[in-house]
């Protein structure tokens, strides 16, 4: 996550993508990726910048599971819960991560370090079980390796 103000991210996006409906999802994605989530204020600013209503921006933001309107931690761990991973023990990995982090899926550690989520198939089923940590895929996980990877995140 960067310390850049949200207005700067939005302006930079608008300069690249334009100020219209088409830019809405692209700017939302940029803000979410840089700040971990998209706040009410950010959505209002995007609406103004792209000349659409705030309700429209909200409705786009809430449609996509990779965009969060709730604050998230510095790192995002997304564990696949779909069938091939489930067959190779993703439930045990989830339980281990939840225990290690002291949070349930969908929550963020109190120190703001990690948000733990489950996700639909991430296309790594030849190496199940798998997870994405921010932009990095990790596969052939065991409860031990998964916890080790997550403990190593600053």
């Amino acid at each position: 996550m960067s310390g850049r103000p949200v207005s700067q991210i939005i302006e930079e996006g608008a300069a690249r993508y334009g100020r219209n409906q088409e830019a809405v999802l692209r700017i939302l994605t940029d803000v979410d990726r840089e700040l971990g989530s998209v706040s009410e204020e950010a959505m209002a600013a995007i609406a103004k910048c792209c000349r659409v209503s705030s309700a429209e921006v909200q409705s786009v933001a809430t449609f996509y599971s990779f965009i969060s309107t709730k604050p998230r931690g510095r790192h995002l761990v997304r564990l696949c819960r779909t069938i091939s991973c489930s067959m190779k023990g993703s439930a045990g990995i989830l339980a281990a991560l939840e225990k290690d982090l002291g949070i349930a899926a969908g929550q963020t550690t109190p120190d703001g370090r990690i948000t733990l989520e489950t996700t639909s198939c991430i296309g790594l089923c030849d190496q199940s079980p798998a997870m994405l940590v921010d932009d990095t895929p990790h596969s052939r996980l065991t409860p031990e390796t998964a916890c080790e990877i997550v403990r190593g995140l600053k």
Partner: protein, 392 residues
């Protein structure tokens, strides 16, 4: 039968297919692809060349070539591997498509789950630009074509082509009514072709070797080869390329599947067959091959498998139409009731099988029209069968 073309170690020289295409008329390029009977590799199997001919003939100064790299079907990862290894061929295939339909812009809709493929595609694109195979005045001629990446944001339904267009236009990924079809009114209302990654990558081979060569690759009247992502209970999960029309048994043997109880072909919305049906054919004539093949051995509880799929569908439905939104939830409830023992037997399950049919008929897009397939297959072949009440 195993047959490697797209995955062959001997790849034609990059740009040679585009050069050959540029020496043909646009219409002839589209005709060649149509004559090769290249069926879309994303799951629906619509003939790619027919789309190209239609889009080429559609009126409009601006047209678009869109690559569907949303690959969200559970158990599918062939497009990831294709992009990792052959992003340059994908771009060449898209450029040939641009030449065929008269488009100067290509867009790759890449799923959010593959952020690590962005630099791979960008690096390949700059290599093609340096070689004069992308950009203004390709190979010194009049044809210009370039590509950009549009990232998805984590919604399976955005793989449906009109939802994908909505998403690229910055809106919720809710499928559109058809008609109009994208070949007439697609991205920004302009004529647009949308094809899967694998479809585009097959194109340079077709242009270089000709439609007849491609037709001859298939078995039993099918054309070309097909990539399969195989996972689950197999010794060697991965991507395999077989002649289209091959038997499922051949693929199971390649991947090392033993004690096979069930195989699901075409992902969660595909068909689920007993492992003993080894002669069933991987073809749009029999088991439509999207790309995913998931194997379940004798130890698997098929009701648990069904539960996992129905949870996926409940989570991923866009909620726009009732049969899909409500139907998938009710089928998931039924799975829970079967598990709890409060729902059993053909008679009690009949209303749910009817509901599955209603969803097939009444849903707006391919999602709701196919999401009940696994319920019907697994309930009929595995759940009722275990009760001694099996259908076929």
């Amino acid at each position: 039968m195993k047959k490697e073309v797209l995955l062959s170690a001997n790849q034609p020289e990059l740009g040679s297919a585009l050069r050959k295409a540029a020496s043909m008329t646009s219409a002839d390029v589209a005709f060649e692809v149509r004559n090769a009977k290249l069926q879309g590799r994303g799951g629906a199997g619509f003939p790619a060349g027919v789309k190209w001919v239609l889009a080429g003939g559609a009126s409009g100064a601006q047209k678009y070539v869109v690559c569907n790299a949303d690959e969200g079907e559970p158990g599918t990862f062939k497009d990831r591997i294709l992009i990792e290894k052959y992003a340059d061929r994908l771009l060449e295939g898209m450029a040939i498509a641009g030449y065929a339909i008269g488009a100067d812009t290509g867009l790759i809709y890449l799923r959010a789950e593959y952020p690590y493929l962005v630099p791979v595609i960008e690096e390949a694109a700059s290599r093609l630009r340096q070689a004069g195979l992308l950009g203004r005045g390709i190979m010194g001629g009049k044809f210009s074509f370039d590509v950009e990446i549009r990232k998805g944001a984590g919604a399976y339904v955005c793989g449906e082509e009109t939802a994908l267009l909505e998403s690229m236009e910055g809106r919720r990924g809710e499928p559109r009514n058809k008609p109009p079809y994208p070949v007439n009114s697609g991205f920004r209302g302009c004529p647009t072709i949308i094809n899967n990654v694998e479809t585009f990558i097959a194109v340079p081979h077709i242009i270089l070797n000709g439609a007849d060569w491609f037709l001859a690759l298939g078995e039993g009247g099918d054309s070309g080869t097909k990539l399969f992502s195989i996972s689950g209970d197999v010794e060697r999960p991965g991507v395999y390329e077989l002649a289209m029309g091959s038997k499922i048994g051949d693929l199971l043997d390649l991947a090392g599947a033993v004690d096979v109880q069930a195989v699901q072909v075409g992902g969660a919305s595909g068909k689920t067959i007993p492992g003993s049906d080894r002669d069933r054919v991987l073809s749009f004539r029999d088991l439509p091959p999207g790309g995913s093949v998931i194997v379940f051995d004798g130890s698997r509880d098929m009701l648990g498998v069904l539960e996992n799929f129905m949870e996926f569908f409940v989570h991923e439905s866009c909620g726009q139409c009732t049969p899909c939104r409500e139907g998938n939830s009710r089928l998931l409830d039924a799975v829970h009731a079967i598990r709890a023992g409060s729902l059993s037997g053909r008679e009690a399950l009949a209303p749910y099988l009817d509901l599955a049919e209603t969803m097939k008929q009444g849903s707006k897009c391919g999602f709701g029209q196919t999401s009940s397939n696994c319920f019907v297959d697994i309930v009929n072949r595995f759940v009722l069968k275990a009760d001694g009440q099996g259908g076929n």
